[in-house]
């Protein structure tokens, strides 16, 4: 039964395909929740499983076995490879921990710089304008949340399109999307297969803000146009940089624009939650397998400690 602990390491492999479909077919708000919760569950399961692998490997080493007061050898289904797999798991945990720390430090630095920048100017409402030749705009989380926009971006859009941008960024702050994005980032560092899930979460957050903006300005086409023009303006500014490899599929921005242009979400969404259910089932299976596997491991350790009979 301890073999169940391998399941949480394998389940994330099916998550990317499910996540992409969930982000595409489900309405943005439920998609964001399902994706984030699933990513956290899968990440937690995979971390616990790796930890359990390390622990079993250690308990196979006599010095640690005596430290753990084991009187019998610990029995696992993977006895022959327990120590090498523990070493591999420890390596994966170390790599994940390192990249996560690096990302956390960078993000903290970025946020601090953005906050310093915003705090230097008196606010006009929640707006912070940065005089810069680079078209850029983002939501700055905090209390109160701010909308940061560069002068170049302001000049790339007309007044109605700017209202779209403000409404979009305010939606990010209102719905506290930075927590979802941080969770996505965390999960992506726990298992490589969760990286596409992080992208799906980002996409769902953007789609949700797009829909909120479209509702605020009351015009889906205007919203689509604002996003497209802002994207093209920032892209034109970056044209001096090396071109990125052409993607086989459309990137997130054209998909967002197309989603707005195709009109409000049709009724077919009643059918599609199957995908979301599948993803949720996957996450639940991971949590279940982890819990059962851990309970079983605990039992095996107690047996090895001679506390209970087999």
């Amino acid at each position: 039964m301890t073999a169940l602990l391998l399941l949480p390491l394998l389940l994330p492999l099916v998550a990317p395909a499910l996540a992409r479909r969930t982000a595409r077919r489900l309405a943005p708000a439920p998609a964001l929740w399902v994706l984030t919760l699933a990513a956290l569950a899968l990440a937690g399961g995979s971390l616990t499983a790796l930890g359990a692998l390390v622990l079993t490997g250690l308990l196979k080493v006599p010095a640690f076995a005596s430290l753990g007061e084991l009187v019998h050898p610990l029995r696992t289904p993977w006895d022959a490879v327990a120590v090498p797999s523990a070493a591999a798991a420890a390596g994966l945990l170390a790599v994940g921990g390192w990249t996560l720390t690096r990302s956390a430090v960078r993000q903290a630095r970025g946020l601090r710089a953005a906050h310093t920048e915003a705090a230097r100017r008196p606010a006009a409402g929640d707006l912070c304008i940065v005089d810069s030749p680079r078209p850029d705009a983002y939501a700055l989380p905090g209390r109160p949340g701010r909308v940061v926009i560069t002068t170049a971006m302001i000049r790339s859009l007309d007044a109605a399109e700017r209202e779209v941008l403000f409404a979009h960024e305010r939606a990010h702050n209102t719905y506290r999307h930075h927590y979802f994005l941080a969770a996505a980032e965390l999960a992506a560092h726990c298992h490589p297969a969760l990286r596409p899930v992080r992208d799906a979460i980002r996409y769902a957050a953007e789609r949700m803000a797009d829909e909120a903006a479209a509702a605020t300005v009351g015009d889906r086409r205007l919203t689509a146009r604002a996003i497209a023009r802002a994207a093209l303006a920032s892209s034109a500014h970056r044209s001096g940089r090396p071109a990125v490899v052409p993607a086989a599929t459309a990137g997130p921005v054209p998909r967002r624009v197309a989603a707005l242009l195709t009109g409000p979400p049709p009724r077919r969404h009643r059918v599609t939650p199957w995908i979301a259910l599948l993803l949720a089932a996957c996450a639940t299976a991971s949590v279940g397998a982890t819990a059962t596997g851990m309970a079983d491991l605990h039992h095996e350790v107690e047996v090895a400690q001679g506390e209970i009979a087999r």
Binding site: L127, D131, L140, F166, E185, R202, R225, L232, G251, V257
Partner: protein, 123 residues
């Protein structure tokens, strides 16, 4: 003329909209010109009050024009600091993970797709 939606609009949002209009213009604007540039048609008095408030906060400057004032955005004195902070932000590509950006970068294919979508939209 003021529509119902505009009366519910928080003062902060109007301030933001007005400041954006000032920055977009590039030349000083009178309250009438600001009002004309705003998409949701706020009352002239509201615009005038908002501009006066921005002036009080030191975000907007003004100069006499005719019987009233024309307003312009104030560059903060140590503008270089802002620029440096901004390039520091730019360096960390990772920030887009918590700082939800309006638009992510585009691949050449994305650019073509977007232009096609915009063209189709205009026809």
């Amino acid at each position: 003329m003021t529509n119902a939606k505009d009366e519910r609009r928080p003062a902060g949002e109007l301030e933001a909209g007005v400041l954006a209009v000032l920055w977009a213009a590039g030349t000083p604007l009178t309250p009438a010109e600001v009002q004309a540039a705003l998409p949701h048609d706020p009352a002239r008095t509201t615009v005038t009050t908002t501009l006066a408030r921005l002036h009080d906060k030191g975000i907007a400057g003004r100069r006499r024009q005719g019987r009233g004032y024309a307003y312009f955005p104030v560059q903060d004195a140590p503008g270089l600091t802002a620029l440096r902070m901004h390039s520091e932000l730019e360096r960390d590509a990772d920030r887009e993970t918590v700082l939800a950006r309006f638009v992510a970068h585009l691949s050449p294919d994305d650019e073509r797709l977007l232009r096609d979508l915009l063209d189709a939209e205009e026809q």
